[in-house]
C-alpha cells in the first residue's frame, strides 16, 4: 500500500480504536486568550461567518505535524486565520502587520 495515500485517506484526528496510552486526568485552567478564542469561534459560528464544521475541517487541514505540535486552541486560531483568508475577510498582510503592532504594544508597556 502506497504510504502517501494513507495520509489523504485517514484524517489525523480519526483515531477511534487506535492503540492509546493510559489516560492522564490532566486539566488546566483555561487561559484568558483560549477562552477568548472559544468565544470568537462561537460568535463566528452564530453569525454564520465560519461554521463549526468549517473550523473542524480547517484544523484537519493543518496536517498531522501541526496538529501534533500545536495545542488545542493554537490549532483553532491558526485554522481561523487560514479560513478568514480564504473567505477574503482578512488578508495575510494585514494580519501580519496587526500582529507586529500587538506584539510591540507589550514590549513598549514593559519598560521596567
Amino acid at each position: 500500500m502506497n504510504r502517501s495515500e494513507e495520509l489523504l485517506k485517514r484524517l489525523p484526528n480519526d483515531i477511534g480504536g487506535q492503540p492509546g496510552a493510559p489516560i492522564q486526568r490532566t486539566e488546566h485552567q483555561y487561559l484568558p486568550w483560549e477562552k477568548r478564542c472559544h468565544a470568537l469561534a462561537d460568535i463566528l459560528d452564530m453569525r454564520k461567518i465560519v461554521s463549526t464544521e468549517e473550523k473542524r475541517r480547517g484544523v484537519e487541514s493543518l496536517g498531522a505535524e501541526m496538529i501534533g505540535k500545536l495545542t488545542y486552541y493554537e490549532r483553532w486560531v491558526a485554522a481561523f486565520a487560514n479560513i478568514l483568508f480564504q473567505k477574503g475577510i482578512l488578508t495575510p498582510g494585514e494580519l501580519a502587520v496587526k500582529m507586529e503592532e500587538v506584539a510591540a504594544r507589550h514590549s513598549r508597556g514593559t519598560a521596567a
Binding site: L8, K9, R10, L11, D14, G16, G17, K48, S51, E53, E54, R56, R57, E60, S61, K87
Partner: protein, 105 residues
C-alpha cells in the same frame, strides 16, 4: 394525512428505527465525519434524528445551503468492531451517521 401534498426529496427519512443497515466504504478527501473504525460494518438503526441537516462533509467547505437529509443514531456491538473484544457481548457503540453513508441490507 392531507391529500395532495407532495413530499420533497429528503423530507422523509430513508431508514427507520429497527432497520438493519450497512455503513458504506469510501474515502472522501478532505473532510469526513464517518470514522474508519465503523466503515463497512453492519449496524442497527436505533433512532432517526428528526431534524434533517446539511451534509457536513460539504458544510466543512462552507456549503451551508442545499438539500438536507437525516442522521441516524445506529448501534454496533463492540465485539463486531474489535476482534477479540474482551467485555460483555452486549457492549455496544452508538454513533450518528448521515443518510448518504448508509445502505439498506
Amino acid at each position: 394525512m392531507i391529500a395532495g401534498l407532495v413530499k420533497d426529496e429528503g423530507d422523509d427519512p430513508r431508514f427507520h428505527a429497527g432497520d438493519k443497515v450497512g455503513i458504506s466504504v469510501r474515502f472522501p478527501v478532505g473532510h469526513y465525519r464517518v470514522p474508519h473504525y465503523i466503515r463497512g460494518k453492519k449496524a442497527l438503526v436505533e433512532e432517526v434524528v428528526a431534524t434533517p441537516a446539511i451534509d457536513n462533509e460539504a458544510e466543512g467547505f462552507g456549503r451551508n445551503v442545499g438539500l438536507k437529509r437525516h442522521y441516524y443514531r445506529v448501534s454496533i456491538p463492540l465485539s463486531e468492531l474489535w476482534p477479540g473484544y474482551a467485555g460483555s457481548p452486549h457492549d455496544g457503540l452508538r454513533i450518528e451517521v448521515y443518510e448518504n453513508w448508509l445502505e439498506g441490507i
